[in-house]
């Protein structure tokens, strides 16, 4: 049962991963990527990591929904109705990817992988939670800080007009330089 699930999900993941870069329509490409990443989540569930598999599935669903919006905002040709190629350096990239895939596969097959040590805990989710709140606390705190820094950086990058635009480079302008006056008594 799990072998069949593994093969179905693996083939679907790689096939839809390839189709991401072959579809003309951006909506199709996004949903193809979503399929590939949902299959990765499914493979995690096959491996016995129920919680992380479901987290991956939920996160990818929302992420791809947001991505579809940005695709339509920023692509020149979102529907793929005008045939155009948006590619560069295809031969070099194909060579690099074929080379890296070959070397990865050779490495995977030649490395003497260690034997399985220990048994999976009855509840891997509990194990993960105890680990993140115990010996791996530093990892968790680093991730938290990284996510917080991401929030700040994202807002800074995406803001159209910040305080330096409004109050000048030394922030000493008496009145903010706004395109439209008003708001909070200004």
């Amino acid at each position: 049962m799990s072998t069949a699930a593994f093969w179905a999900l693996a083939v679907l993941a790689v096939a839809s991963g390839i189709m991401v870069f072959r579809f003309d329509s951006m909506a199709r490409a996004t949903f193809s990527l979503l399929t590939a990443l949902l299959c990765v989540g499914g493979e995690l569930i096959v491996l016995g990591l129920d919680y992380l598999g479901v987290v991956t599935v939920l996160m990818m669903t929302i992420e791809m929904a947001i991505m579809a919006v940005f695709m339509i905002m920023f692509m020149m040709n979102p529907a793929g109705l005008m045939p155009m190629t948006m590619l560069h350096n295809r031969r070099g990239a194909a060579l690099i990817c074929a080379g890296s895939f070959t070397s990865l596969v050779v490495g995977i097959l030649l490395v003497p992988w260690p034997r399985r040590v220990g048994r999976a805990p009855a509840d891997p989710t509990m194990d993960l939670g105890m680990s993140l709140m115990g010996p791996q606390m530093l990892t968790m705190m680093t991730l938290g800080m990284a996510l917080f820094a991401t929030i700040v950086a994202t807002v800074v990058l995406a803001t159209r007009r910040g305080r330096y635009d409004r109050y000048g480079d030394d922030l000493r302008a008496a009145r903010p330089d706004d395109p439209v006056r008003g708001g909070v008594g200004r």
Binding site: L33, I96, V105
Partner: protein
């Protein structure tokens, strides 16, 4: 269904994503390639946890790190695309290639 099969699937996903990231001109499509590469990393980490050291939680923690990296990459990537488009009306990598003052 052994470790090697999982890792080969992960390597295939990684290399397909690498091809996309190297060939696509649109920055958003390039980010889709990066997502696919990180998907391969997640799968490889899960397989390593299951087949090598299931008693330790380190493999699971590695998956959490990879998922966080994916979220950070998406958020920062879209913010950079927005900032680039605001300042120069640019949405492809080739047009953003020149550093200028």
């Amino acid at each position: 269904m052994n470790l090697e099969l999982f890792l080969i699937t992960a390597a295939a996903l990684f290399c397909v994503g690498l091809y996309g990231a190297l060939t696509q001109q649109s920055i958003v499509m390039l980010m889709m390639g990066l997502e696919l590469m990180l998907g391969g990393v997640i799968l490889a980490a899960g397989a390593a946890w299951h087949h090598i050291a299931p008693a330790a939680a380190d493999g699971q923690v590695l998956i959490v790190v990879a998922i966080t990296a994916m979220a950070v990459e998406m958020a920062i990537g879209f913010a950079v695309v927005t900032a680039l488009f605001r300042s120069r009306e640019v949405d492809t990598t080739d047009m953003a290639a020149e550093l200028r003052e």
